[in-house]
Every structure is written in C-alpha cells, then in structure tokens.
C-alpha cells in the first residue's frame, strides 16, 4: 500500500511533481547550508586562453624551462640512489626508506621537501633523512624517515637542522608527524659537527615533547638497529610500532664494548673487545624481547615490514581531523587551463616580464578569484582563491611597467617586482584580514626589492616594510611561499619568506628561482666603484679591479642558483612548474585538517570587503 492515497491519473502526475520539487529544494538547501554560495560557488573568472602568437613564440622558452628541470631531477636521482642499492637492501629482507614511503603514502599525494638539503656538503650527498607532506589513510601528515641505504640511517651533519624544519612544519600545520625510524646512531668520525649545540642532534627530542604538549601526535614505525641517538629517535615519539627484528637502546654493541677506556688499547683489551662484540652482535640490547615483553615501550610488534606500515595507516584513521567538507567553500575543481601553459608564461630569464595573473589562473580551482583592492597598489596582487575547495588568501608580485603616474609619490616610473607605498599598505591590510578570517596565505614572490632613495624614504617605505613584518607576526595562520623567480633584498623577508619562522610552513622554488641580497653586478658596483675611482686617479691599470668585479658577480650567480638555494635550505624544495598546484593542495588540505582556530564562513569579512 502506498503511504499517500492517489485517486486518479492527474493526481499521480501532481504527486510526482511535488516529490520532484521537494527533492530539488532539499538538495538546494543542503548546498546552501554547506557554502556561503553567493560568494564562493562561482567567483569571478581569472586568466584567458593563450593566444596563437604567444604559443608560437614561447616554444623555445618552454623547452629551456623543461631542460632546466631535468638538471634538478638528476640531482634528486643522486639522492635517491645514495648508499647501497635497493637490491642489496631487499636481499637482506628489508625495504628501503623509499619503498616504505611508497607503501605508506596515499597514491598521488606525496609532496617531497628537503630532498636536496645538504647544508654541510656531506660526501654522502644527503642529510640522510627523507621527508615531505603526504596523505596516509586520507589524512595529511608530515612524514620523515631515515635513509637505511646510507650507513644504516646514521646521524650526519645537517640532519638535525633538517629534522627541526620538519618538526616546525608539523607544528605550524598542526598535523601529525610520522617517523620511519631506522637509525644506526652518529657517524662517529664527524660527531663534532652535529652531536651537541642548540640546534644539534639532541634538540629534536625536545621538539617531540613540545609537539606532544601541543596535542600533535608523533607516530613512529621502527626498523633495524637503533642504538644511542637512534634509540632516542625511536623512543621519543608518542606511539611506537616495532618490526620484530628491531632494537632500541641507550647504547649499542659498539658503546657497551668500549666502555671505560684505559687510556689506550693493547692486545688484551683487543681480545676482550672481540669477545664482547661477538656477544652483542648475536644479542643486541633493547630487542623486542626487552621492549615489548619486558618494558612494554613498543605498543605493537609486527612480523612483516609492511605490517608496521599497516599499523601506522590504521592509526592515522584515529587522529583528530575534520572532514574536508567542514571547511570547504565549494566543490574542488581543477584550473580551467593547462598546467603546461605555465612553462610558456614564466620566463626563465629574470629580465623578462610576464603576467602574474595568468600564472595564478593556472593554479587555482576553476581559475576563479576575488581580488582585493584591484585599483590600489597595482604592483601587488592580493585576493581570495580556492584550492581544492578551500579558501586561501593569495599575495603575489605582478611584473612589468606600471603606467603613468605610479608610484604616485615620485616623479620616476614604477616597475613591478619592486614594492611601493600602496602595495605595502595593501598587503598589510590583506594579511591582517586573512589573520582575522583564519584564512591561510600563499605568497608568490618575484621581487627586485623595495623602492629606494630619499623620495621612497619620505613615502615611508622602510617603515611600511617592517609594518608588514608586524602584520604577519600578529596573525596565527599557516603561510606558504612559492618563490617563482627572484627573492631579493628585504622584500624577500617581508613577502612571507622563510624568515617568518612562525608562519612560513615551507617554501618551494622553481628552476627560475634565485635568492640574493642584491644582483651580483649590483654587488660588484657597490663593492668596487670607489676602488675604480682611486685606481683611475692614481693612474694605475683598471683590469685587476674589473677582474675582481666579474669574479664577484659570478660568485653571486653560483650562490643564488636553485640548486644552491635547495642545498642550503633557502627553499625547502625545487618543484617542477606543473607540480606547484600539488603543493598548494597539500598546503591547503593540511592547513584546514585540524586548525587551531576557526572563523565561521558567514563571519568572514574579506569577501564582504571585496564585494563592498
């Protein structure tokens, strides 16, 4: 029996109509409940299709950019192939750190960081930890593992700095830190470079405690032999998932055998060492029989290497994370234009200008945006965009000539890439509003600095730059920097650079990126111009000074290249242009996974201010 009595054919038609109407309304209402629809469902369009002429003339530039990415890829391959081969590690019944990551991380979400970071130029070519952001069981985590191919995952110089960056990242994004521990302890022949000091190898253990005190869980899968430093790497996280063959201990076979040195070695002590070493090799301290059966430090023990990873995957479903729907303002959507266009739009040559808005159009959902104050401070873009359905604030340097009458305080023309009074004021306002609205911020940097000279000083640019530092610092939202090309002078600091320690979660660069206090040629002029005058007045030849000037310019060039920036940590990763969006997605998703503070969508002010 139907629930509603239907007397005749006409009523049947009416009935179906009502049902359809009711269903439609309920669907619409659901969407209305989900989004502040008039603002976010469809935002104004950004960008346009490339023109025929543009495609034709950018063919060579596109190829050059691709070629430069191949060079970086070769360096990444060197790091991946450092130490023993995969075959050798597999033959021992172990997986490599790369295989473990592959198994652990949800496909397509791995966004590596610090791959080329090697600030102390280790001969191993790596700091010996591999890290990045990725999803595990659908939830974002910062993930880091020791490279067990290189000295069984030893501590190396530069490693603690790498780990501290990763821990800062988990803290900033308020997402779990997941470890793949496999650490043989310190490389003893270089211990003086990393064992002690404020940011030395012991500092990460304090940071683990700090993360835990902030409510950020640290999960650790543990493999292999982890003595001394390795033992603390393994025991300092929140929950320990052990492989059956692993061990963790205050000291390993080497230390226990070598206790109480007698001021030298002789034949007797050597024989003694041989005996003890044999014993500890057979039965290393801190194995599963001790730390699962006796102490209970290991929460779980697994037969298979993959079992440990399955355990981590299972636990990731238990950590605090909002369903993305909670914060999304629209359904996720790909940009309307091809990612490959980016290679035609961003010139590798730092002197060539380009249209930043067209680049942004290729990175944001459905190529839509809401620009904040488009008629003010034209050298800077500020606006709201959607990344994977999440609302993100975006600030970027525009490029090219600014037109007559700008900057308004000067009688000289303005060119983008430089910062002027209006742009600085606009950024101060925008950042402050993003902080108020709890909207994470992505900065796009390609700057030649802040306008200089007495006219610029009177226009308060020195003060307004530091005001922007103040404005950033008084917010508490995650920020990310995409260094499209140049990071120069104080502008590199104030435009959300890595120097904003508490805010900048991470910085990615491109193969067009370069960072220096000023251009090498400018530095040569600043350093040697007076010397040139002196030599000239003294009637001496100028060639030796010119040689030095060229040498300095060349050195600046070498020490500002993308590879140098990545190696020294000035950027956290050099990323192919068609992978930039992937990092934006990781950043937005991580920022909204478990934010420390919430602004209700119907209380956001920025969209209202933009609408007017």
């Amino acid at each position: 029996m139907p629930a509603i009595y239907v007397p005749d054919g006409l009523s049947v038609l009416m009935y179906h109509h009502w049902i359809a109407v009711i269903y439609k309304r309920s669907t619409e209402n659901k969407e209305n409940e989900k989004y502040m629809r008039p603002y976010f469902e469809k935002m104004p369009d950004l960008g346009k299709e490339l023109k025929k002429g543009q495609i034709k003339r950018s063919e060579e530039a596109r190829q050059q950019f691709k070629d430069s990415e191949v060079e970086i890829e070769k360096e990444v391959d060197k790091v991946k192939n450092a130490g023993f081969s995969e075959e050798k590690i597999n033959a021992r019944g172990q997986m490599t750190v790369w295989q473990r990551l592959e198994y652990l991380i949800d496909p397509g979400t791995w966004s590596p960081l610090h791959t080329l970071f090697n600030p102390t130029d280790n001969e191993e070519g790596t700091t010996n930890v591999i890290d990045g952001i990725g999803k595990i069981s659908g939830r974002w985590a910062v993930v880091i593992g020791f490279d067990n191919k290189v000295m069984a995952g030893a501590w190396l110089p530069g490693q603690s700095e790498n780990i501290l960056r990763v821990q800062d990242l988990a803290k900033r994004l308020n997402i779990p830190l997941v470890w793949l521990v496999n650490c043989s302890g310190a490389k003893l022949t270089e211990q003086e470079k990393f064992y002690a000091n404020r940011r030395g190898a012991g500092t990460p253990f304090f940071r683990h405690a700090e993360l835990e005190q902030l409510g950020i869980p640290v999960l650790a899968g543990i493999y292999g032999t982890n003595p001394a430093g390795g033992g603390y790497q393994a025991v300092s996280p929140t929950i320990l998932f052990a492989h059956k063959d692993c061990n963790i201990a205050v000291g390993g076979a080497g230390i226990v055998s070598g206790m109480a040195p007698k001021g030298g070695f002789d034949l007797d002590s050597a024989e003694d060492l041989i005996e003890k070493s044999k014993h500890f090799k057979a039965k290393p301290p801190g194995a599963v029989s001790t730390h699962y059966d006796a102490t209970g430090f290991f929460r779980y023990v697994y037969e298979e290497e993959t079992g440990v990873l399955d355990g981590l995957k299972d636990f990731m479903t238990k950590i605090p994370a909002y369903d993305p729907e909670f914060f999304r303002v629209a359904e996720p959507a790909a940009p309307k234009f091809e990612q490959d266009d980016l290679y035609r739009l961003l010139p590798l040559d730092p002197k060539k200008v380009y249209d930043f808005d067209e680049i942004l159009a290729r990175l944001v959902d459905n190529s839509e945006h809401m620009e904040y104050r488009p008629d003010y401070g034209p050298e800077m873009y500020t606006g709201l965009v959607k990344i994977d359905g999440f609302l993100v604030g975006c600030i970027g340097n525009r490029q090219g000539y600014l037109g007559k009458g700008y900057p308004e305080y000067a009688d000289y023309p303005g060119i983008c890439g430089k910062l002027y009074r209006q742009g600085l004021i606009k950024m101060n306002e925008f950042v402050t509003q993003c902080g108020r609205d709890r909207v994470p911020v992505v900065w796009f940097q390609d700057t030649s600095g802040i306008d200089v000279g007495d006219i610029a000083e009177r226009a308060e640019l020195l003060g307004l730059g530091q005001s922007l530092v103040y404005s950033i610092q008084q917010t508490d939202v995650p920020m990310m920097l995409v260094l499209l090309r140049k990071g120069t002078a104080a502008a590199h600091y104030v435009l959300g650079g890595p120097t904003a320690n508490r805010h900048n979660a991470f910085t990615i660069g491109t193969t067009a990126s370069e960072i220096y206090v000023m251009h090498g040629e400018t530095a040569s002029v600043a350093t040697y111009s007076r010397r040139l005058v002196k030599e000239k007045e003294a009637g001496r030849p100028l060639e030796p000074v010119i040689e030095k000037m060229n040498a300095l310019a060349d050195e600046y060039h070498q020490k500002s290249r993308p590879l140098f920036c990545a190696k020294t940590g000035m950027v956290d990763e050099i990323v192919p242009l068609d992978a930039v969006r992937k990092y934006l997605v990781a950043f937005a998703g991580s920022s909204y996974q478990n934010p420390k503070s919430i602004c209700p969508q119907h209380h956001l002010m920025l969209p209202r201010i933009i609408k007017g």
Partner: protein, 71 residues
Amino acid sequence: MAEEIIAPLSGKIMAINITVGQEVEEDEEAVIIEAMKMETSIYVPCDGKIAEIKVKVGDEVEEDDVLAVIE
C-alpha cells in the same frame, strides 16, 4: 587603415623582431624595450603588414613614441 606600435614606457630598444614588408599576426613580439633592468616586450596589436619601422636597436625612446606602423 594604419595602426601604430607605440612605446608604452621610456627605455632603450633592445631588439627589433620585425622587418619592413613582413606579414605579422596579432600578438607577435615586435620590439623589446629595456627599462629599469627589465625587458618589456611590445606586441603587434593587429594582423597586417609592417609599413615602417621608426627606431633601431640602441635607440632611447620616450613613452608614446611610435616604434612602427602596420597597414
């Protein structure tokens, strides 16, 4: 109907990528002007044929100067 290619800013002519008599398409790169250490490309505003080029490489030009004429 003649159309002019105008200098949008003052600077130095770095390169000229067109020749008199050449058939051009809208948005081809015609001239590069260097100003404030940056190279600004000037594009062909419409399809046509280059009737005249009024500058040479190395010339200093002022804003609104006519660089070339298209017919």
